[in-house]
């Protein structure tokens, strides 16, 4: 796309910029700094603060450079070359400071405040104002996370524009005019946007402050490192601020290729887990109880248990890429097993093949920029706001730029105002997607999605969430739909380490780089680096490992950064597994609910102690950097794996991170996918079942272990357990909104408050995965379970029920 260029001069210097550029941006290109408060490159211009005045030759009035666009031949003069502009800026700063309290010493923004900085650089030295300043009650908690100090506000409308234009969560608004103008929130409401923290960061003064950071530190106390958020696969670039070895806040770093300038509130406020008091930083070995010991002894014991035995590895999505690679190698070389998996979803079938595509076929893959520029997007089996929040913001950005978005999910998502939702029963996604493959256009949601994708061609994007991976066919059908319409395709995992683990081959059938373990040609490429692999039979996936463990077919089970009781969608199976494996080795930050089961504990270094990489859902590997050394005796996971290899009498072949990276780079670099044809023969129409299907997925803020200690975040955004049901289903069972219901499955039962809502597909009920008081995996045997019954429970009966949740108290 060629754009018309415009040439103008600023302070006598010539610059050529695309037509439509704002003067303030053109000045930036010349390195000329014009003071500003309301201007933000990612928000639409507002012209609210009047600080950015410039003079345009031939114009009587001064221009605000953040709202005026360039014109050919324009001669702009800034404060550097125009006395009038300088005077106007000084006067405006004096004006902005009229009502500004002089409480910099106690203001959290002090020391890094644009108002302070610009008052010093461009402002008058003194104020002539002697009258009383306007006062407000302060600070007003907008939510347990955000405090508002109206006295400090300069009414720049950055916060309100963010909520309006970026997150779409319009909780706050500017009210009234003149001296009484102020940021407000509806009475009794809380600022419950999962992106609320961004308003704090972009507020150019200390009017919005973060409660978890309130009075905690000063900018000069902090040492910072640039790293990447560990909470999800979005891979937001963050800056970790540390005071005396303790992480005190996360700030967003600008990266227009990834997170723009935003973070979600989990990424911003869930930073206390590495310092949690339950963390264990010393190796433990079960003797009578779990006794502290040395790494050497634990490793020897594990070696003795494992030699010649049946070993399996389970891990979550929390491992960094290097750790995943070391795990993949140690399992296959030292322990000669393919029983390893990183997935929580009990996937099977074609999802395996798809996984290989996901890490190999770069031609298909999607980036944030692709999403932003797309004309049609189908989001299937993904609740982006809750699962990969920054992708949600990108989808909204795409919508603002005119993309047509279709969401195929059993539950309406927070894209409701910008996307068309096709609600479908869990497990039937494949059938709906098939209609897109078949190219059936027409006057239904699916038809419109098919038409839009076809029209968009290369500018189409299909994003498949992990709920599709649960179904043996669905993700594959989504891939077909993309191929058929020429759209780009990506599997979007939820957790930060998922994509890296997949690429490294922490997978029963796949070796690094998506190479299949049972394909001699692909295997040979890995063997060239690793040496001959003795076990060439595809192993068990996570579910099969648990089942095998429960059947006593596994002797040693490694649990690396995963707690099967809490993380897998079948708590009963997980418990059976733990009870029936002779030796359980836990490698993590803490023992948690595994304490009674662990036979050995290997303390792992936490995220802020690591130098490694995380790979985003797009496949972009980004470096994480340590802010401190490993706590106590803990070690990086890959070092522990290297130790395990030695304990087994072998070696991983690398002693340093650099060696590991050098070895893995060849195996992980992109290559063409050479997979055979899919076995897909059509999903077929779903059978009608007159039962409810219970499904679940984790909400953004829940009892997950990386949110430990984030009390303010939980107070603001953690929901109490609930069950969602469609009005039609509710009517049949005379269930009223707000009451309580008993949900019963083969696995278990619970009494939960109910929400009757049309925002869920008929025939399905939703329970969030892990809210305080109810772990949905006690009700499930997989991410969704058909054959649930739900019945109303009378209030009195509910109160007396032992299965009832204590809702309201909560932690």
């Amino acid at each position: 796309m060629t754009q018309e260029a415009v040439t103008l001069t600023i302070d006598g210097k010539e610059v050529t910029v695309p037509k439509g550029t704002l003067i303030i941006r053109a000045a930036e290109q010349l390195g000329i700094e014009i003071p500003r408060f309301c201007d933000h490159p990612l928000l639409e211009p507002a012209g609210a603060c009047r600080q950015c005045y410039v003079e345009v030759e031939g114009q009587a009035k001064l221009f605000t450079s953040c709202t005026a666009t360039v014109a050919p031949g324009m001669a702009v003069r800034t404060q550097n070359s125009s006395e009038v502009v300088h005077e106007a800026q000084v006067a405006n700063l004096e004006f902005l400071l009229l009502n500004h309290p002089l409480d910099c010493p106690i203001c959290d923004r002090g020391g890094e405040c644009p108002l302070q900085d610009q008052a010093l650089a461009f402002g008058p030295g003194e104020s002539r104002y002697v009258e009383a300043k306007r006062t407000f009650e302060k600070p007003i908690p907008l939510s347990p996370l955000v405090g508002l100090d109206r006295e400090r506000c300069v009414l720049c409308a950055r916060c309100t524009r963010f909520c309006d234009q970026i997150s779409g969560d319009r909780f706050i608004e500017l009210f009234a005019r003149g001296a009484g103008e102020r940021v407000s929130i509806a009475a009794g409401e809380d600022f419950l946007s999962p992106f609320s923290g961004n308003t704090i960061q972009i507020c150019p003064v200390g009017a919005l402050t973060a409660t978890p950071y309130r009075f905690v530190a000063r900018p000069f106390d902090l040492s910072s490192v640039d790293t990447v958020c560990p909470h999800c696969s979005a891979g937001c670039n963050v800056k970790l601020d540390v005071r005396r070895g303790k992480v005190v806040r996360h700030l967003a770093r600008d990266n227009l290729d990834v997170n723009d300038a935003w973070l979600c509130d989990k990424g911003r406020f869930a930073f206390r887990f590495p310092d949690d008091e339950r963390r264990v930083t010393i190796p433990l070995l079960r003797d009578r109880g779990l006794e502290p010991t040395s790494f050497g002894e634990v490793m020897d014991a594990i070696g003795d248990w494992s030699r010649g035995k049946r070993v399996a590895f389970l891990t979550g999505g929390r491992l960094a890429d290097e750790d995943a690679y070391a795990l993949s190698k140690v399992a296959r070389t030292a322990f000669v097993t393919n029983d390893l998996d990183h997935r929580r979803e009990f996937a099977g079938g074609e999802a395996e093949r798809l996984a290989a595509v996901a890490v190999t076929d770069r031609a298909l893959s999607v980036t944030y920029r692709d999403v932003e520029r797309a004309k049609a997007i189908v989001v299937a089996g993904l609740d982006a706001e809750q699962e990969v929040p920054i992708l949600h913001l990108r989808l909204r950005k795409a919508a603002r730029r005119g993309a047509r978005i279709f969401v195929l999910n059993p539950r309406r998502t927070r894209l409701w105002d910008v996307a068309e939702h096709v609600l479908c029963r869990p497990g039937q996604e494949a059938h709906v997607l098939e209609q897109i493959v078949d190219g059936e256009g027409g006057d239904s949601g699916v038809g419109r999605a098919a038409d839009a994708l076809r029209e968009a061609g290369e500018a189409g994007v299909v994003l498949a969430g992990m709920r599709l991976a649960e179904h043996p066919l669905a993700a594959d059908v989504a891939l077909r739909a993309a191929r058929r319409t020429g759209a780009r395709f990506s599997l979007v995992p939820r957790r930060a380490g998922d994509k890296g683990a997949l690429a490294a081959g922490v997978h029963p059938r796949l070796l690094p780089g998506g190479r299949r373990v049972d394909d001699p040609g692909e295997r040979a490429e890995v063997e060239a680096v690793w040496g001959e692999l003795k076990n060439v039979v595809p192993g068990r996936n996570a579910k099969q490992i648990l089942e095998a463990a429960a059947n006593r077919e596994i002797d040693v089970l490694f649990l690396v950064g995963v707690d099967p009781l809490r993380d897998f969608p079948d708590a009963r199976l997980a418990r059976h597994a733990l009870e029936n494996v002779p030796y359980k080795v836990v490698q993590s930050l803490e023992l948690g609910s595994l304490e009674p089961f662990a036979d050995a504990f290997l303390p792992a270094a936490a995220f802020p102690e690591r130098d490694a990489h995380f790979t985003t859902w797009e496949g972009r590997a980004q470096r994480i950097r340590p802010v401190r050394g490993p706590a106590g005796l803990s070690r990086p996971d890959w070092e522990i794996f290297a130790g395990l290899a030695r304990a087994m009498g072998g070696s991983l072949g690398f002693e340093s991170l650099e060696d590991l990276q050098e070895e893995s780079v060849g195996l992980l670099s992109p290559r063409a996918f050479s997979g055979g044809a899919s076995a897909w023969v059509g999903a077929g129409a779903p059978q009608w079942i007159d039962e409810l299907t219970l499904f679940t997925y984790p909400l953004l803020v829940d009892e997950g272990r990386l949110s430990e200690g984030a009390s303010e975040l939980k107070a603001a955004l953690e929901e109490k357990p609930f069950l969602e049901i469609h009005p039609v289903d509710a009517d049949k069972r005379s269930i009223a909104d707000g009451g309580e219901v008993r949900v019963r499955t083969q696995a278990g039962q619970a009494v939960v408050p109910v929400r009757v809502t049309p925002d869920i597909a008929e025939g399905s009920v939703f329970v969030p995965f892990n809210q305080p008081g109810l772990a949905a995996n006690t009700l499930l045997s997989g991410r969704f379970t058909a054959g649930a019954t739900v019945e109303a429970v009378a209030a009195a009966e509910a109160a007396a029920d032992p299965e009832r949740l204590t809702v309201g108290g909560g932690p």
Binding site: P105, I106, R214, F215, D221
Partner: protein
């Protein structure tokens, strides 16, 4: 060559110079003694001298003046001050306003008594006193806590280690 002119040119000139020098010494011998017989006899420093240990002051109503703003810590060239701010409980405030110092420490092994912290303090919470007696027998003792700093210093001569023996 002004210095060259004064240089003794001969032996007699040298003798005269030595005598002049001895004259200075002898005059000094008969001048009154300025050595302080510390610690047997302690002279109070001038009343407004700020040469010694810091003091965290209070308002007359008992509230602490310090608001935990850390500006003193920022100003300190020796990085001797540690401040941790915290919210005031409106029912039971420690200082006026929103913020107070939850923790406040000065490390006198680092402090060079320059007084820049006092100049930085926006509330006049921090001042220096005349209590220059700071001898310690352990590193911990050299780090003054907030409680210690809120107490006015002991009279000179009473600090441990100042007694003879």
């Amino acid at each position: 060559m002004s210095r060259g002119e004064q240089r003794p040119q001969d032996f007699l000139g040298g003798l005269a110079a030595a005598a002049r020098g001895m004259g200075v010494v002898i005059k000094q011998v008969f001048r009154p003694d300025v050595t302080e017989r510390y610690p047997q006899q302690i002279d109070e420093p001038p009343p407004r001298s700020h040469i010694g240990r810091h003091l965290l002051n209070r308002y007359e109503n008992g509230l602490e003046k310090c608001i935990g703003c850390e500006l003193c810590a920022y100003a300190c060239p020796a990085d001797a001050i540690w401040v941790e701010g915290a919210d005031n409980d409106p029912e039971n405030p420690v200082s006026p306003g929103e913020r107070h110092a939850k923790d406040y420490q000065i490390n006198y092994l680092r402090c060079i008594m320059c007084g820049l912290c006092v100049e930085a303090c926006p509330t006049r919470a921090l001042t220096m006193t005349h209590a220059y007696e700071m001898a310690f027998t352990s590193r911990e003792d050299a780090i003054f806590t907030k409680e210690q700093l809120l107490e006015p210093p002991l009279p000179l001569g009473t600090a441990p280690g100042t007694q003879e023996g």
